[in-house]
């Protein structure tokens, strides 16, 4: 099997699997219990919190069911809390539905929303900051786009936005960016299963001094801001994944240039990922071959890639349009996303099978 769909999800690392099972067996207490078993679980959670904060900065960590919940919590929670700061949201046309749809819901309820496309702006970070005015309550922007790998310099974005309006809250969806690019934000969403951790666990980082209204009400866990018994085993798994993450930008860059040069020898390949993209994601269109057919033919050889974004099960997401990719190319787009274990040999086998696929399927 050659797994090249790491932007969809990753194979859990051995350490994460061990942490989950060990914790389930030896540390099953409810962190809210007053007795020692509760305390043991609480210790696991505090340790994970510290590990995450060490990567993200000064502030607080709330564990969630995943990035969808983190995004919803940040977006709805910030708008409810800081409503008086304005009625405008600045976001991008490349957001994942987990951020785009909550924002669309707020738009239905009367917020003004501005969506910027990378294709329209040479200096995207500046463009986002320029769109911010004194009525802008929230900026929500992903760190790395899941379909193309396009990376926003979110540290710079944060500085530029705050200079324009220091009251504007900045939310960063860092599902694809966490551990890969430098991050900053008032809210940062991360997900466990994109970094070789378990599914069903994510976190929301909240910068010191920033507040939000909770999405879920209940038993008052996690400082009353995220009720629900903490899934201590999944939190342990997430921590193990963070501690053992082995992806390296330099290595991904080598792999990317290997892949790009091999693909470039084929006829009719057009790259949708540019040099503004992280090197672990390579998106390209194959002229005259629909993505789904190529995907399923690669699948027959046990090579797993993605067409567009896996979240919508093959439906074209329209996100590629934000990068100026025409519909005909979006229809034939393939996304290869690598991990630390990806090898040049695997990429060669991939390219070889794409070559065969082109011969058979091109119309």
């Amino acid at each position: 099997m050659i797994y090249l769909d790491n932007a969809a999800t990753t194979r859990p690392c051995a350490e994460a699997v061990a942490a989950v099972t060990d914790t389930m067996q030896s540390c099953f207490g409810n962190a809210s219990s007053l007795h020692r078993l509760g305390l043991n679980s609480e210790k696991v959670i505090s340790s994970a919190r510290k590990t995450l904060l060490a990567k993200l900065g000064e502030g607080e960590i709330y564990f969630t069911s995943g990035a969808t919940e983190s995004n919803n919590t940040a977006i709805f929670g910030a708008v409810e809390t800081y409503r008086r700061n304005g009625d405008k949201i600045v976001t991008t046309a490349m957001e994942h539905p987990a951020a785009a749809n909550p924002i669309a819901k707020l738009e239905e309820r009367g917020m003004r929303v501005v969506r910027l496309s990378p294709k329209d702006h040479e200096d995207f970070e500046q463009a986002v900051a320029d769109a911010v005015d004194d009525r802008t309550l929230l900026v929500s922007c992903m760190a790395v786009n899941n379909e193309t790998g396009y990376a926003v310099d979110v540290k710079r974005l944060y500085r530029l936005v705050k200079r324009k309006n220091e009251k504007t809250i900045v939310h960063i969806d860092a599902v694809q960016g966490f551990l890969k690019v430098p991050l900053d934000g008032d809210f940062i969403s991360i997900s466990g299963h994109k970094i070789h951790g378990p599914k069903g666990i994510g976190a929301l980082y909240v910068k010191k001094g920033v507040r939000f209204a909770p999405l879920l009400l209940g038993g008052g866990q996690q400082k009353k801001l995220r009720s629900g018994t903490e899934p201590v085993e999944l939190i342990a798994g997430l921590e193990a994944a963070v501690k053992n993450y082995r992806g390296k930008t330099e290595r991904f860059s080598q792999l990317k240039s290997h892949l790009v040069s091999a693909l470039s020898e084929l006829d009719g390949i057009k790259f949708n990922s540019t040099d503004k993209c992280v090197p672990n994601i390579v998106n390209f269109s194959i002229k005259g071959v629909r993505s789904e057919i190529m995907l399923h033919s690669l699948e027959q050889q046990e090579i797993y890639v993605s067409s567009g974004s896996a979240c919508s099960k093959g439906k074209t997401s329209g996100v590629l349009a934000a990068f100026g990719v025409p519909d005909s190319d979006a229809d034939s787009a393939i996304r290869v996303s690598m991990c630390a274990d990806t090898t040049e040999e695997e990429l060669d086998i991939l390219v070889d099978n794409i070559r065969k696929g082109i011969e058979r399927f091109r119309r």
């Binding site: 789904e292 057919i293 190529m294 995907l295 399923h296 033919s297 699948e299 027959q300 099960k313 093959g314 439906k315």
Partner: protein
């Protein structure tokens, strides 16, 4: 009490149908526990011999063709005093959530001392004194309490469900349904099973043009159909090579009709081999380009068996209504592509001429490909009522 539908109208061969119906019921209830069966007066009496949830039994029975109505009953000796004494306890579940009721009595056993109107009146009085908040409504009651005095006992009931109707599956022979992922073909299969046919399914797959999910979707549909149709044998035909050959060797505008003819030819061979007496399709006139009169003629010309098209004259709306009722609609509308839409031409010929079609067909050796596809057809069996595939979109 399982009351017959159409079988009740049969003459001398009635018992043949009754046997099949009873066998179908037994098969369907077997895994729930022990039941005893006996038949009298166009009714099959199904009596649980152990503690069994009767609502599950009733639900299962409601899918079985050949049943006109299902009545959930308590059996008492033919003594009105005994019935009256037990009525309150037995009817409580049904009457506690009702506002109005009426009593219907039937006296099949004419030796019973009370006459029908008297039974109705007195039982009505018993019910009213037990549940004083109830009002009598003879036209549109919330609950109808039925007491039937039959040869073998007094049957008290507050629940009567309309059965699936039709003829018992297996009483009319067996046929092969061309099952796609769409809305129409499961409905067509359901309708023919209702006429007593054993319905098995044939499906064509074209990996990598169609996905594993698309195939699973169709298997899920076949599973759903087993609720009504009973066990289903599922033939899965590898179709990729044929479609590629069609694409590369035949005029594009004939692609769909040629493809459907080859599908029918493969179905012919499966019918020959497995003894099916007919082919069933979900075609409906004028729905798509391959369902114009001339296109249907061209497809039909390839068939060596009668082709049943039970939805041929139905509107899409009517078909959807049935597909919702038989619970296939949601699965049918999952988005995965099936092999019919792969390579479908931009401008298909709506009025193909059979001579042109046959000439196109002759231009390539499809016969040996058909043989190969039949030989490589995979067979699966789906057990009645088992739902193992769950596609949650």
């Amino acid at each position: 009490m399982v009351k017959y539908g159409e079988i009740a109208l049969k003459g001398l061969n009635k018992s043949t149908f009754e046997d099949i119906l009873q066998k179908n019921i037994k098969r369907r209830l077997k895994d729930l526990g022990e039941f005893s069966y006996f038949r009298r007066q166009s009714t099959i009496y199904v009596t649980p011999e152990e503690d069994i949830d009767i609502s599950v039994v009733v639900k299962r029975l409601s899918y079985i063709f050949g049943i006109g109505a299902i009545q959930r009953c308590a059996v008492f000796p033919k003594d009105f005093a005994v019935v009256a004494e037990n009525a309150k306890e037995y009817l409580r579940d049904a009457l506690e959530c009702a506002k109005t009721f009426k009593v219907e009595a039937k006296r099949a056993d004419k030796k019973f001392p009370m006459e029908t109107p008297q039974i109705q009146q007195e039982l009505g009085g018993v019910v009213l004194s037990a549940f004083p908040y109830l009002k009598v409504d003879v036209h549109d009651p919330d609950v109808t309490v039925r007491l039937e005095i039959r040869d073998n006992g007094a049957y008290l009931s507050a629940e009567r469900i309309v059965g699936a109707g039709g003829m018992p599956v297996g009483s009319s022979g067996k046929a092969l349904l061309m099952l796609s992922g769409g809305i129409d073909s499961p409905v067509a299969g359901y309708m023919m099973a209702k006429r007593g046919l054993v319905v098995d399914c044939i499906h064509y797959v074209s990996p990598p043009y169609t996905s594993e999910r698309a195939r699973l979707k169709v298997e899920a549909l076949a599973e759903k159909m087993t609720n009504y149709c009973g066990d289903i044998k599922f033939y899965c035909v590898p179709f990729t090579e044929i479609q590629e050959a069609l694409r590369d060797n035949c005029p594009e505008e004939y692609f769909t009709v040629l493809m459907r003819r080859i599908m029918v030819k493969i179905a012919n061979k499966i019918c020959d081999r497995e003894g099916y007496g007919a082919i069933i399709t979900g075609e409906s006139v004028a729905q798509v380009a391959s369902q114009t009169l001339t296109a249907l003629y061209c497809t039909n010309e390839a068939a060596e068996y009668p082709v049943f098209r039970p939805v041929i004259g139905m509107d899409k709306k009517e078909i959807i209504e049935i597909s919702r009722k038989i619970e296939t609609y949601e699965t049918s509308t999952l988005p995965y592509e099936d092999c019919c839409t792969v390579f479908s031409p931009k401008h298909p010929k709506t009025k193909p001429r059979i001579e042109d079609i046959k000439a196109a067909e002759a231009s390539y050796d499809f016969d040996s490909m058909i043989e190969k596809a039949v030989a490589e057809t995979e067979i699966k069996r789906f057990k009645c009522g088992e739902q193992t595939i769950d596609l949650f979109d």
